[in-house]
């Protein structure tokens, strides 16, 4: 097993290097002079020179890359163009908001999607199955931002049931420990804050979870269908086992692999889907920050967010592969 982990880790090194080169080149791909692109046409030559100096643009490319990677390994992502604040600090303070939203979304998607898929597979071709599968198709066909706006209009504007801006009302005080507001409010026993932050979570979480929900339900269904056709399921039924143990302890356990994989992969996709969701709901996470920095043309922030999210994506993929091999010995040998 450790041999497999080492081999798989070695394989991801070129990918990580490739990712870092591509992200590094992003700033250098800006047509014309990046310094002018950042500061605008009316910038003074002194300011342009200062920016070039600060971003290290006046050194040869390979040297720039080495310096950049060196800083990166020490946790230094550089500073923002506007305000000259360390990007790493800012990222750390905004990340919990995105993590909280993504975790709630993926948990809901799993808790609802897996049973939906199982039910659909067991009652194959029934009206419930057809409806579920059509719902799943609709789920992947409705863009996040359309759904988000619809929900804001229905539940926020018309019914006035739920808040749709930010994470918590500005009047409510909450002592932050982890940065995850739900956990923080439970830890400090602040029930008013808990209720408020939960109500702020509902619409963004629903917006973000539909695509993973649809995909998880579809994969669960097809994976279950494949397993339910196997001989050992027929054997289990033949020896008189009830339908419930057949489905849950025989079929589901063997169908779990692709389901676990897809849940892991969806978590990575959620992080980028968060850009749209956070923008719509003014959710103060890294997605909203990315959007704001695009508008402000603060390229170093765009570069850093892209790098961090892709690295997380690579790490999730790696972890999923390892989990996969842990559960299925055949993968290790192949």
């Amino acid at each position: 097993m450790s041999k497999y982990i080492i081999r798989r880790a070695l394989e991801s090194i070129p990918v990580i290097i490739g990712v870092s080169i591509l992200v590094f080149m992003l700033l250098r791909l800006i047509p014309g002079d990046p310094a002018i692109a950042i500061l605008g046409e009316r910038a003074t030559p002194e300011n342009i020179a200062a920016i070039r100096e600060r971003l290290g643009l006046n050194k040869p490319l390979p040297e720039q890359y080495i310096i950049w990677i060196g800083n990166l390994l020490q946790g230094d992502l550089g500073n923002t163009v506007r305000g000259n604040i360390p990007i790493a600090n800012e990222l750390r303070s905004r990340f919990p908001a995105t993590i909280e939203l993504s975790l709630v979304a993926i948990t809901l998607a799993t808790v609802i999607g897996v049973p939906m898929g199982i039910f659909s597979a067991v009652r194959r071709n029934s009206p419930v199955d057809t409806a579920t599968m059509f719902g799943a198709l609709l789920g992947v066909s409705v863009p996040i931002f359309v759904l988000g706006l619809l929900l804001i209009y229905l539940f926020g504007v018309q019914l006035k049931l739920l808040p749709f801006i930010g994470r918590i009302d500005s009047g409510i005080k909450l002592e932050t420990r982890t940065g995850l507001f739900v956990i923080d409010s439970i830890l400090t026993g602040n029930w008013e804050a808990l209720q408020n932050t939960l109500s702020h979570l509902i619409l963004p979480a629903i917006t973000l979870f539909t695509v993973p929900l649809a995909i998880i339900a579809r994969i669960t269904r097809s994976s279950m269908l494949e397993v339910l056709n196997q001989d050992y399921i027929r054997t289990a039924r033949a020896k008189g086992l009830g339908e419930r143990p057949v489905i849950f302890s025989h079929a589901l356990r063997n169908a779990l692999l692709p389901i676990v994989t897809i849940i892991g992969l969806q978590l990575g996709t959620l992080l980028s889907g968060a850009v749209l969701t956070e923008t719509i709901y003014s959710w103060p996470g890294i997605g909203k920050w990315l959007f704001d920095s695009i508008i402000a043309r603060d390229y170093p922030i765009v570069q850093s967010v892209t790098l961090i999210v892709s690295l997380i994506y690579v790490i999730i993929n790696f972890t999923v592969d390892i989990l996969y091999a842990l559960v299925d010995p055949r993968i290790r040998v192949a």
Partner: protein, 327 residues
């Protein structure tokens, strides 16, 4: 002498049979598609949106720069709403002809006809979708076939590069590329195409690998056919089915991603209409209850994407030999 003439005379018959088989296969696929209701709905939606996308720019010469009519600011879609309520309440209300139907879908903050802009926006979205899938399909298949067939360093270099692109969540990579290249529809198209290349490359590479060791490819090799001609005449036709399915599904993804870039202000620039941009502009109006500014562009995207997804799923069912005979 007689045997030679026999063989010669049997030659055209063989050809005809092969054509017959192909025709029969095609007919079989179409029959399967027709039997599947989701293929019919998806096909209808796809054909309808393509038709609108072609016809609208031909019939209507739209000048977005001059389209401005502040007197019709946020004009609601009275006509449509009136008709719907009279249908639902089953009472004879104001007849349709007496209502002002100048703005069937209402008007936006500049008093622009939303129906007209949705039509042009749909046209933009679909053209971008087809362009993106066309480019990424061509480049992806070329890379995939070369990698699968030539193997060696070509394979490792090209497939590792594909891995690097796949290491990014696709929307994020598209956002990053467009941000640095400059926000425009063209840059958006190129960026989305880049993110889609690996899917086609991996698919066609796996097809090439599975086909390169088959007997008919070996037979073609043994009579002296070169790598390129084998790829074109044997591997490509046999990879067509999964590629068509993937391309149909990717079209939906391309339409969504284009609209997402537009929504973030990274696609089509104002005042030209694009569905995602229209949605972004509708958000401030939503708070004051002006739902029509958002609903019609939103529904249009949903219907286009749903259409191609339904069609893609049905095509997969019809083309996948493993599913044959199971229904």
């Amino acid at each position: 002498m007689s045997t030679i003439t026999q063989i010669k005379s049997s030659e055209p018959v063989k050809r005809l049979n092969r054509d017959n088989v192909r025709l029969e296969m095609l007919r079989d696929i179409l029959r399967r598609l027709w039997r599947n209701p989701s293929a019919r709905i998806g096909g209808f939606l796809a054909v309808a949106s393509i038709t609108i996308a072609i016809i609208v720019p031909l019939l209507d010469n739209y000048d977005a720069v001059r389209d401005n009519n502040l007197s019709a600011r946020y004009q609601p879609p009275d006509c449509l709403v009136g008709w719907l309520t009279s249908q639902l309440n089953d009472v004879e209300k104001q007849p349709l002809s007496e209502m002002s139907c100048q703005y069937p879908f209402g008007a936006d903050k500049n008093g622009r006809d939303i129906m007209r802009r949705v039509g042009h926006g749909l046209s933009v979205s679909l053209s971008v979708g087809f362009f993106v899938v066309g480019i990424s399909l061509t480049i992806g298949v070329a890379i995939g076939l070369a990698a699968g067939f030539l193997s060696g360093w070509v394979e490792s270099v090209s497939m590792r590069s594909m891995d690097v692109i796949l290491a990014f969540p696709s929307l994020l990579l598209a956002i990053a590329l467009v941000t640095v290249a400059g926000a425009s529809l063209t840059n958006g198209m190129i960026a989305i195409a880049i993110t889609q290349i690996p899917t086609f490359a991996r698919l066609s590479r796996s097809m090439a690998i599975s086909i390169r060791n088959t007997e008919y490819v070996m037979a073609a090799r043994s009579v002296g056919a070169g790598g390129f001609s084998i790829m074109i005449s044997h591997v490509l036709p046999n990879s067509l089915a999964p590629l068509i399915v993937q391309a149909t599904l990717m079209l939906g993804t391309a339409v969504i991603t284009t609209a997402a870039l537009g929504f973030l202000g990274l696609g089509q620039q104002p005042p030209w209409p694009e569905l995602g941009k229209m949605l972004a502009e509708s958000q401030p109006a939503l708070a004051s209850g002006k739902w029509w500014v958002m609903l019609f562009p939103g529904l249009t995207i949903i219907l286009i994407v749903l259409g191609f997804n339904l069609l893609g799923d049905a095509l997969r069912d019809a083309l996948d030999p493993r599913l044959r005979g199971s229904d």
